[in-house]
C-alpha cells in the first residue's frame, strides 16, 4: 500500500481495523492520528523535494522553472483528503516552504505571500474538482479527467497566477503581466502532468491501470524503451541555426505516437507518466530543438506545446479507459447471462427473416450440440430436428415468414447419438424502420420436464384406472347384494314349496303361500334390474342439437395426453358441412372417448408399425351421420364380433368390459347403431351412425375432407410429444 493511501479518508481506514470498532476506538484514533502525522510529514518532505526538483527543471539560461512540483503536491494532497483536514496538510507544507524560499534569499513577507498564493491555487483546484466531479476524483473516467483538466489545471492556475504575479510585483517590482504569463503556464503544466499520477497512485486507482506481469508489462516496457531512446535522441539533437522553422516542432511530432499509444492502450496513469517522461527528456536535452529568440520564450513554447498535447491526450485516455471498463462490464454481464442461460437450460436467438441470418447464444449451441464456430442456417437446424417433426418445423418457419406474428411451439431434436430432446420455442416478431422482419426469442430445453410430465401422467392414468375399477367393484358388490337378497328368497321359497307339495298329504296352502312369495321376490329382483338400467339410460328430455365435429374435437383435446402416452398418431378427418344430430352431447362424447381409448389400448403392444389412429366423420345413407374410429391394433376374430358388445366381455387385462356395452346402449338411445368390423389390413374399425337433426345443417353439403385448424393443432401437439 502506498504511503499516499494513508491520506485517504478516515472512514475507509477505520473499516480496515476490524469489526468491533467500539472496543478499538481508542486504538483507531491513535493510529489515525499517527497516520495523519505521517501524511503531514510526507507532504512536508514532498513539498521540499518538489521545490528542489523544481529549481532544477529549468532551461538555462532562462530562470523560470518549466514545472513547479510543490503546487501539484499540495493539490494532490487536498484532492486525496476530506476538507476538514485540509488545514493540517497546508500547514504541514509551511516549514518546507520556509526552508526552500528563505534559502533562496527571498524577503520573509514575500515568502509568506507566495505560500498563501500557492495554498490558494491548491484550495481552489481541490474545491472546484470536489464540487463538479461529485466529490470524488475518478481519474479513470472521462468525466473525472475533464473536470480535473478544466477546474484544477486551468481555472485554478488562471486565478491564482494573478495573486502570484501580484505578490511578485508588489514585493519585487516585477512586470505583472509577464510574471503572470510565466506562472500561469508553469502552473497549468504542473497541475496537468503531476497531479493525476500522484492522485491515482495515492488513491489506489491503479487497478487495471498499472501493468501486471505478462503481456501488459511487456507493452509498458516497450513503450518506455522507445520513448526514452527516441526522446533521448530527438531532444538532444541540436541542428545548426538556419534550419527550417518547421523542424522546431520535430521533437514533439516524433514523440506523439508514443503518447497516443499510452493514451489509447495503457490508460490515464501511463499517459501522464509518459508526458512526465517527455518533459524530463526535453529539459535534460535543453529543449534543443526550440529555436526561438529568447530562452524564456523557449520555455514558454515547451510549456504550451506540452499543455496543448497533454489535455486532449488525458481526455482520450479517460475515454479509452471507460471503453475498456464498459467492455469488461459487458463481458462480465455476458458471462453472467450465459451462466444463467446454462442453468436455466434456456438460450436466446434472433432470426432476420429476409436474409435468414440467425444468431444464437452460447446455450443454444450447447442445446443443439453444435460447435460455436459453425455458421447457423435453417438447413443446419433442420439436420437436428427430429424426422417426425420436420414438416411441423418447416410449417412453423413458413407461417412465421408469412404473418410476422409471435410464435410458440414445441418440437423434438434427434441428436447424433440418437437421443431425443424436447424444445420449447417462443419468439417475438418485430419490424425495423424498413419493415424488415426480425424474430427474437428463447429456446428452452424442456426434456427433463417433459419426461417427468410423462411419468406423472402415466401414474395418474394408472391411478384413474384403479379408481375406476374400484368404484365399479363397489357398484358391482352393491348390485350383487340387491339382487342376491330376493334370489335367496326365491330359491328358499321354491324349495319349501316343493317340500310342501311332496309331503303326504301335500300342504297345498303352504305351497300356495310360498309360491306367492316366490313371485313377490322375483318382482323385487326385477325392480333392481330396472333401477340399474335407469342408471345407464337417460331420458330423451335433455336432448339438444350437437355438432359431432365439435364434440369430436373436444374429445380429442381431452384424450390427447392419454394418446400421447401411448405414442398414438392421431389423424382426424372431419367432413365439412356435417349435419347436426340430436342427442345428449356428453353421452355421445363418452362413446367417442370410449372408442378412442379402446383403439389406443388395442395398439399398446404394436411396435412394428405406426400406431395410426384415424377418427373420421361423414354423412351416411338415410339422412344419418357416421363417426368411425380406425386403429392399427390387434383387431379381433370375426366370430367374436357379437361378444364384443356383451357386458363384462373384455380382451384387456385391466378392462371391466362394460365400455362397449354402455356405448351401444347410449347409441341405441339415440336411435342409432354401433358396430365393429375388422380392417382389410390390420386392426379394427368401430363405427356408429345416428340420425341427423331435422333441418340442422351447419354448412354446405360438400363432402370435402379437410383438417380443421383445431385438429391440426391437436395433431401438432401429438407429434410434438
Amino acid at each position: 500500500m502506498s504511503a499516499w493511501t494513508t491520506l485517504v479518508g478516515s472512514s475507509t481506514m477505520a473499516s480496515g481495523f476490524g469489526r468491533d470498532i467500539a472496543r478499538k476506538r481508542d486504538g483507531v484514533q491513535t493510529r489515525e492520528g499517527f497516520r495523519i502525522a505521517a501524511s503531514a510529514l510526507l507532504i512536508c518532505v514532498g513539498y521540499y523535494l518538489g521545490a528542489r526538483i523544481g529549481f532544477m527543471l529549468r532551461l538555462p539560461p532562462a530562470t523560470p522553472s518549466v514545472l513547479w512540483p510543490p503546487n501539484a503536491i499540495l493539490t494532490a494532497a487536498l484532492l486525496l483528503t476530506p476538507p476538514r483536514r485540509w488545514w493540517i496538510y497546508l500547514l504541514a507544507a509551511l516549514p518546507a516552504h520556509l526552508i526552500v524560499e528563505v534559502a533562496a534569499r527571498l524577503p520573509a513577507s514575500l515568502v509568506l505571500a507566495l505560500f498563501v498564493t500557492n495554498c490558494s491555487e491548491a484550495l481552489l483546484a481541490a474545491a472546484l474538482v470536489r464540487q463538479f466531479s461529485g466529490g470524488g476524483t475518478a481519474f479513470n473516467t472521462f468525466r473525472g479527467l475533464a473536470t480535473f483538466i478544466l477546474c484544477a489545471s486551468l481555472i485554478a492556475p488562471f486565478l491564482s497566477s494573478f495573486l502570484d504575479a501580484g505578490a511578485m510585483a508588489v514585493f519585487r517590482g516585477e512586470n505583472y503581466w509577464l510574471d503572470w504569463r510565466t506562472r500561469f503556464f508553469a502552473n497549468v503544466l504542473t497541475e496537468l502532468t503531476l497531479v493525476p499520477p500522484i492522485v491515482m497512485i495515492g488513491s489506489g486507482q491503479t487497478a487495471g491501470v498499472l501493468p501486471r506481469p505478462g503481456r501488459r508489462l511487456l507493452e509498458w516496457g516497450g513503450l518506455w524503451l522507445g520513448l526514452i531512446i527516441v526522446g533521448g535522441i530527438i531532444f538532444n539533437w541540436h541542428p545548426q541555426s538556419g534550419t527550417f522553422v518547421v523542424l522546431s516542432h520535430l521533437p514533439i511530432t516524433v514523440i506523439m505516437p508514443f503518447l497516443y499509444w499510452a493514451a489509447v492502450r495503457l490508460g490515464p496513469l501511463a499517459t501522464s507518466l509518459a508526458v512526465l517522461t517527455v518533459e524530463a527528456l526535453a529539459i535534460w536535452g535543453g529543449a534543443g530543438a526550440w529555436y526561438l529568440p529568447s530562452p524564456a520564450e523557449n520555455v514558454l513554447s515547451l510549456q504550451i506545446i506540452l499543455i496543448v498535447v497533454t489535455a486532449p491526450l488525458l481526455s482520450l485516455s479517460g475515454l479509452m479507459q471507460e471503453r475498456r471498463q464498459t467492455r469488461d462490464a459487458v463481458r462480465a454481464s455476458e458471462a453472467f447471462l450465459s451462466e444463467g442461460q446454462r442453468l436455466g437450460s434456456t438460450g436466446s436467438f434472433s432470426w432476420r427473416v429476409d436474409t435468414d441470418e440467425i444468431t444464437w447464444s452460447e446455450q443454444v449451441y450447447r442445446i443443439f450440440e453444435f460447435d460455436q464456430a459453425v455458421p447457423v442456417t435453417l438447413e443446419l437446424i433442420g439436420t437436428r430436428v427430429h424426422p417426425e417433426d420436420i414438416p411441423l418445423f418447416y410449417e412453423m418457419i413458413d407461417r412465421a415468414r408469412g404473418d410476422g406474428n409471435d410464435f410458440e411451439y414445441e418440437h423434438r431434436l434427434r441428436m447424433s447419438d440418437q437421443s431425443v430432446k424436447y424444445l420449447h420455442v417462443v419468439a417475438h416478431g418485430t419490424r425495423d424502420q424498413d419493415g424488415r422482419l426480425e424474430y427474437v426469442g428463447a429456446i428452452q430445453d424442456v426434456t427433463e420436464r417433459r419426461l417427468s410430465e410423462e411419468a406423472l401422467s402415466k401414474v395418474r392414468s394408472e391411478l384413474a384406472h384403479v379408481a375406476r375399477a374400484t368404484s365399479l367393484g363397489a357398484l358391482t358388490a352393491s348390485i350383487a347384494h340387491e339382487v342376491s337378497q330376493p334370489l335367496s328368497g326365491i330359491i328358499t321359497n321354491a324349495s319349501a314349496c316343493l317340500r310342501m307339495l311332496a309331503a303326504d298329504p301335500p300342504n297345498v296352502d303352504g305351497a300356495r303361500e310360498t309360491a306367492r312369495r316366490t313371485i313377490r321376490d322375483g318382482t323385487r329382483a326385477s325392480d333392481v334390474i330396472t333401477r340399474l338400467r335407469a342408471l345407464f339410460a337417460k331420458k330423451e328430455a335433455t336432448t339438444e342439437s350437437v355438432d359431432l365435429n365439435e364434440a369430436t374435437r373436444e374429445v380429442v383435446a381431452l384424450s390427447l395426453s392419454e394418446l400421447q402416452r401411448n405414442r398414438v398418431i392421431l389423424q382426424a378427418e372431419l367432413a365439412v358441412g356435417l349435419p347436426l344430430v340430436t342427442g345428449d352431447r356428453v353421452q355421445l362424447q363418452q362413446v367417442i372417448l370410449n372408442l378412442l381409448l379402446n383403439a389406443s389400448d388395442a395398439m399398446t403392444g404394436v411396435t412394428d408399425r405406426p400406431r395410426q389412429l384415424v377418427i373420421r366423420t361423414e354423412r351416411d345413407e338415410g339422412h344419418r351421420v357416421r363417426l368411425s374410429v380406425q386403429d392399427a391394433g390387434v383387431g379381433f376374430e370375426p366370430q367374436d364380433v357379437d361378444r364384443l358388445f356383451e357386458a363384462f366381455y373384455t380382451t384387456k387385462s385391466g378392462g371391466m368390459g362394460i365400455g362397449l356395452c354402455v356405448s351401444r346402449s347410449i347409441i341405441e338411445n339415440h336411435h342409432g347403431r354401433l358396430w365393429a368390423a375388422p380392417n382389410a389390413g390390420l386392426g379394427a374399425t368401430f363405427s356408429f351412425s345416428v340420425p341427423c337433426a331435422p333441418g340442422g345443417v351447419t354448412g354446405s353439403d360438400s363432402f370435402g375432407t379437410v383438417r380443421t385448424p383445431a385438429v391440426t393443432y391437436a395433431e401438432h401437439c401429438m407429434r410434438n410429444s
Binding site: S484, Q485, P486, S488, I490, N493, D521
Partner: protein, 122 residues
C-alpha cells in the same frame, strides 16, 4: 338328523324370515325367526337354541357382534352365517370364531342342510 331341535334365525330381511322357517320346518326343525340380534337376545329362546342361522350385515347389532355377545354370555351355540355380500373378507374371520359354516345368498337347500347338520354335530 336331530328331530325337534330349535333353530333360531336372525335376519333383517323379511323374505328370509318368511321363507327359511317354512323350509326348515319341512325338515322337521322347530324354528324361531327374529328381525334383529337385540330381539333374539331379549327372547327366552337363547338357552334352548341348538343352532343359530345368522345374517352378517344387519342394522343395529351385526351378526359377528351377536356372536361375540353370545360368547361373552357363555352360550356356545353353533352358528351358520348367511350373507348376500360376496365379500370374501368376511368369511374367514367369521369361521375362526367357531362359526361352522357361512352361506352366500342365494344358497341351495342342500347347502343349507349340510351346513346345519355340520353345525349340530359340532
Amino acid at each position: 338328523m336331530v328331530a325337534r331341535s330349535l333353530v333360531s334365525i336372525v335376519d333383517d330381511d323379511e323374505s328370509v324370515r318368511e321363507s327359511l322357517p317354512d323350509l326348515l320346518r319341512e325338515f322337521g326343525f322347530t324354528v324361531q325367526a327374529f328381525s334383529s340380534a337385540e330381539e333374539f337376545l331379549a327372547s327366552d329362546c337363547v338357552a334352548q337354541t341348538r343352532c343359530l342361522i345368522l345374517d352378517i350385515a344387519m342394522p343395529g347389532m351385526s351378526g359377528p357382534e351377536l356372536q361375540r355377545e353370545l360368547t361373552r354370555r357363555m352360550h356356545r351355540i353353533p352358528i351358520v352365517f348367511i350373507t348376500a355380500h360376496g365379500d370374501g373378507a368376511v368369511r374367514p374371520r367369521s369361521l375362526e370364531r367357531s362359526a361352522v359354516q357361512c352361506l352366500l345368498k342365494p344358497f341351495s337347500e342342500t347347502a343349507l342342510i349340510e351346513a346345519l347338520n355340520a353345525a349340530l354335530r359340532a
